[in-house]
Symmetry: C2
Subunit: 227 residues, 2 copies
């Protein structure tokens, strides 16, 4: 069975508000529930592990039950960095015989079930695949406040999630020295470091990560435009 690891362990000060942002509501429903509802509707993922701040697990499980989520298998406590939270989710899958693991940000509620399925299937075929969107803005590499390089925009993609990998491959990636550091921005970078090819599945700009107060306002707009 393929399994999702939903990373929602952040305490999210940038979003403003007292509550961790993954529990804040959009149109009356907590973001993390919007996100999990996407996985309920996809075909390729059978279960999920949700990684949460310590102390939030019980409340979350009752919330998941209230919303009738059938694919939530367990909730585990997160670590100090995103990478450590992913690692804890991975360890909780030991001996579960997981096929492909789909790592997804808890605060990306607008991914579509079809995008999840396409990315998981690409990983079933090749071992590693991530959802990403072509860069729209010009990106600059900057050193000491000066531009040092403008990489050709046509080659640049913005990584999103899910990022999907065969379980054993992702395990090996996270067992590398330095894998749990704060500078590790995504799973793919660790798999790339192993020398394994990572395929890119085209997603869209709608799959935003909700981070700032403005993102919440945008999320309300996006949600209404879908309804």
């Amino acid at each position: 069975m393929n399994v999702a690891i939903i990373v929602a362990a952040g305490r999210g000060s940038r979003a403003g508000g007292a509550r961790a942002k993954q529990f804040r509501e959009i149109s009356g429903i907590p973001i993390i529930i919007h996100t999990l509802a996407r996985f309920e509707l996809c075909e390729t993922v059978g279960g999920s592990v949700v990684v949460l701040p310590e102390g939030e697990r019980e409340e979350f499980l009752s919330l998941a039950e209230t919303h009738g989520l059938r694919k939530v298998s367990r909730a585990v406590g997160g670590g100090a960095t995103r990478a450590e939270s992913v690692w804890r989710g991975l360890r909780s899958l030991e001996a579960s015989g997981a096929g492909v693991v789909a790592v997804h940000d808890g605060v990306r509620p607008f991914v579509t079930p079809a995008e999840i399925d396409r990315t998981v299937r690409a990983a079933e075929e090749s071992g590693a695949a991530i959802l990403a969107a072509p860069a729209v803005e010009t990106v600059k590499e900057v050193e000491d406040g000066r531009v040092v390089r403008t990489p050709e925009r046509a080659r640049l993609w913005l990584a999103q999630t899910p990022q999907c990998f065969r379980y054993e491959l992702l395990r090996s990636a996270y067992e590398q020295p330095g894998a749990l550091g704060a500078d590790v921005t995504d799973c793919s970078a660790l798999v790339e470091r192993l020398g394994h090819a990572v395929r890119v599945v085209e997603g869209g700009a709608h799959n935003v990560k909700i981070t700032t107060p403005r993102d919440f306002a945008l999320a309300e707009v996006l949600l209404k435009s879908r309804q």
Copy 2:
């Protein structure tokens, strides 16, 4: 005197709607007017050249008058590419004794007057400066559908506008072979090609480029949150 070149020559099919997007309204006012109003409020720019689709110039000038814009010096017809439009704006400044030229996208109405001033002043000092925001997402370099590199995110910035340069420097940049091609995504890239250092002035994520129908919805939200 420092001058802005406001690039608004696109016909903007991606935004949907029959009207070129720079003339579509947010809260009842055309985007291009919102943008020019920012330049009215800044201290460092005294005049502006607006580059428009051929055939839109008269209507625009009467619109600018209606809205009481004092700094609009002239309207010129644009070219087939963004670079060609900038070039036409530049040529219209010949013999005007322009100091720093601030090139700005007509569909970035949320730049603040202070951001414009900071970028122009940096260009007065060093010859070349652009407004940019630190990258929030992980960027991948992709070839044939596979990730080939993950540049270190801490070094990456997303280029915005204004991009500000001493007039003579920008002129030389646009006189290089290939400068008017469709693959030239920003002025800075051409100045970098000359070997001139380009300084980066920190902007924020609010300075979006309005491109898609969703961007319009976002723009309404941003505008309300400012009021």
